[in-house]
Symmetry: C3
Subunit: 315 residues, 3 copies
């Protein structure tokens, strides 16, 4: 593995999950592995969990950390080939990526979907450009279409909490006042395809994720039916893929309630956070003992730390 | 002590001051105490001294430091219980505080008064919420109503410079073009109540601080009278507490001048900084040899370092 | 050397270049020199290379690094003597510089020209004020009129790539949609005056740099003529010094093309970056094997590291 761009970069998900859980028991077990190595974290968007947990993971491995908010602290980047750069962008990603590669040993980048143009977002312009021109490993801290550090976190969390060998896991759409990217849902779906589980997606008609990602995963348009006997309810809003970036103004009936959770097999409630209470999920659910969102967020550190360990060992 | 929220969290002010002065002589005396521990500094407002001195203090103790500007770099937070979060705020402090607690060992937070609503500010919504939900110690880097790192700094500075056992200390209001919080003045008053001194507050009528804070401290509405025989003149602007957040457009006569300083017992001039020259205080005063504002700012490091040491030792 | 403000602070450029090239071969050769020392990087403007390479240089020397974006994270500064500070600025540089000096061991500052007033910019208000009031060494990370870390980088890069003892080096103006400072060009010219080379500047009439800087350096208003037999083409846009801050809307003919490069002695192409492709320079030139802009940017680390090493050894 050179880059950690997507779930497909994991050679064996079960092995990675086992290794991460082992690392979690002794976070400082490899505290000299990253000594004299520097990770650069480049943010094009806000971040709380990713910003802090990735720093913590690097520190646990003894690395130096340099954080940069690209918007504002640096120069606005051009991505097009052959562009006459007489407009707003001051620097081409060709130079930026090559230059930064000389100051760091690993690069981690967050660049959300803009939700203006499907082709632009799904071409992964920012991450693909950095991976093309960087001469060091690149880690995806949530790109336009994927959030593989979150999905690895989710695999760890499900493994820790599952009570039977093949749990039923439901990815449920939920309402949100703003149009959100599909990144978290996409990577969760990809991750689940490498997991031994009874996996089903439930969402309103029109909110189908990209078929090249969902492939054969069953979709149930009836949320209550999908919840029956579930062991894990993984909740996330996303805007439409077909009618790209559109969201649903009348989606309130998809909110996660106590009554819906009663349909499950005493399921654990998961969400990547941040979450809008009483819009996406009722207080009564997120504050219940079955909610594992805080433990889930804690695992962000160990997902990042495992990815960094793999990269440091292989490069 | 779990949190350092206010001056009331200090068990013995004289002992803390002595210990800080001792630490100042050998700042690296405990440089392994914080090894493999991480402090997260969360800023909701600008900061120069607090930002740098708290980082320096943590580094002196061998800690890792993660700095985050919550405004802009993270998600806007909701504090209300039971809120339907369909407006601007993306994340509830319940999740944010619990999550951050898992990535750090100590949290330090700056969140100024908004000066829009007295009850909101004096309920200390931000700091109290973080202290309620965080599972790690929380340090106040200036909240809506207090700035206890500054007040501990001031206690250290007064102790270093006092020439008699019971000095006369005057807290004087001074003019300012903008409405400012009462936080620094409040904590200074609370700190002085634990200090052996002849303490008096002087300000224009209408600028009384909260009576639950000032208690029995004498107030003199005549600035020149208050200055007589003073050993320390501590200057700060604050907006009104009664007519909440209002300031005084004709307060220029309260500016600190050379002539007023001549009324004192060769008093030291103190201010927490930043200070507006020739509005709050004349150049001739702040540039005089009696001005100790720079040494005072230097003590910010040792106040923060002592608080961190106490927290690291007790947790 | 106390401060590194300009190229004039280098006692022997050839010795410094040799030492930097030696350090580049073993960047961690002095990794304990800066232990328990802290550098504060203060940015008043955006930065990519300077921000990251200076951090990397400090880390290579074992230093602690504190980065602060002064705009936004701190208080807006006043520089005037005797000002009645009743307007927008909250803090005077006198206090800011003295205070920061107590938390750090070295200070590095970036403060660009505003291009509004020649006297203001060429008085170097920000850097000179910090150097006046700071009690620790100050490093120029690009000021209004100079960028000496870049120029030292350029000296290193030319030395590494030159094929004859006295190469022909051309500093060529190139077009740009925005008015840019003269800082990089100024420091390059100053540096070349300490370098054994056949040095010529070429630019359109009206774009003469300050004569107190260019002194006896020949100027050729004919770009193609200047390029003949050149070993190095160093390209940079700058706005006019005489008609201060004005730029040229019809400068497109000055763009660096493959055909112009053919006039040279197989010259290396240099630029400090960021660069606007196909405005300043054609893709065919910057992407050619003669372009050394990426290696040049890499040398930023070693220029900064050498300056820091000199400062740490001398203070």
């Amino acid at each position: 593995m050179k880059n950690y761009f997507s779930i497909q970069d994991i050679d064996s998900l079960p092995n990675w999950v086992d290794e991460a859980i082992k690392m979690k028991k002794n976070p400082l077990s490899h505290k000299t592995l990253g000594v004299d190595k520097t990770i650069g974290l480049l943010f094009f968007n806000p971040s709380l969990r990713t910003r802090l947990s990735t720093q913590k993971a690097a520190l646990n491995l003894g690395m130096n950390v340099i954080v940069m908010n690209f918007t504002g602290e640096g120069w606005s980047l051009e991505y097009g080939d052959g562009t006459v750069m007489d407009q707003g962008n001051s620097e081409h990603v060709r130079e930026a990526a090559q230059v930064v590669s000389q100051y760091c040993d690993v690069l981690a980048i967050r660049a959300f979907a803009k939700l203006e143009n499907k082709e632009d977002d799904y071409s992964e312009k920012v991450l693909q450009s950095f991976m093309k021109y960087a001469t060091i490993p690149v880690i995806n801290m949530e790109s336009a279409t994927g959030h593989p550090l979150q999905a690895l976190t989710d695999a760890i969390t499900i493994t820790e909490h599952k009570k039977n060998k093949k749990p039923k896991v439901v990815l449920s759409w939920a309402p949100h006042p703003k149009a959100l990217p599909q990144a978290v849902a996409n990577s969760f779906v990809e991750m689940m395809q490498h997991t031994d589980a009874d996996f089903v997606i439930t969402h309103p008609v029109g909110f189908e994720l990209a078929s090249q990602i969902t492939k054969e995963v069953p979709i149930d348009y009836n949320q209550e039916n999908a919840f029956k006997d579930a062991d894990f309810i993984y909740v996330k809003n996303w805007s439409a893929y077909q009618d790209y970036g559109k969201t649903k103004s009348d989606g309130a009936s998809w909110r996660i309630t106590k009554d819906k959770m009663k349909l499950t097999n005493n399921a654990k409630f998961m969400h990547c956070l941040p979450v809008r209470r009483n819009v996406v999920v009722d207080d009564a659910v997120i504050d219940s003992k079955n909610s594992i969102v805080i433990e889930q967020a804690n695992n962000r550190t160990f997902a990042a730390q495992l990815v960094l360990k793999k990269i440091l060992e292989n490069n």
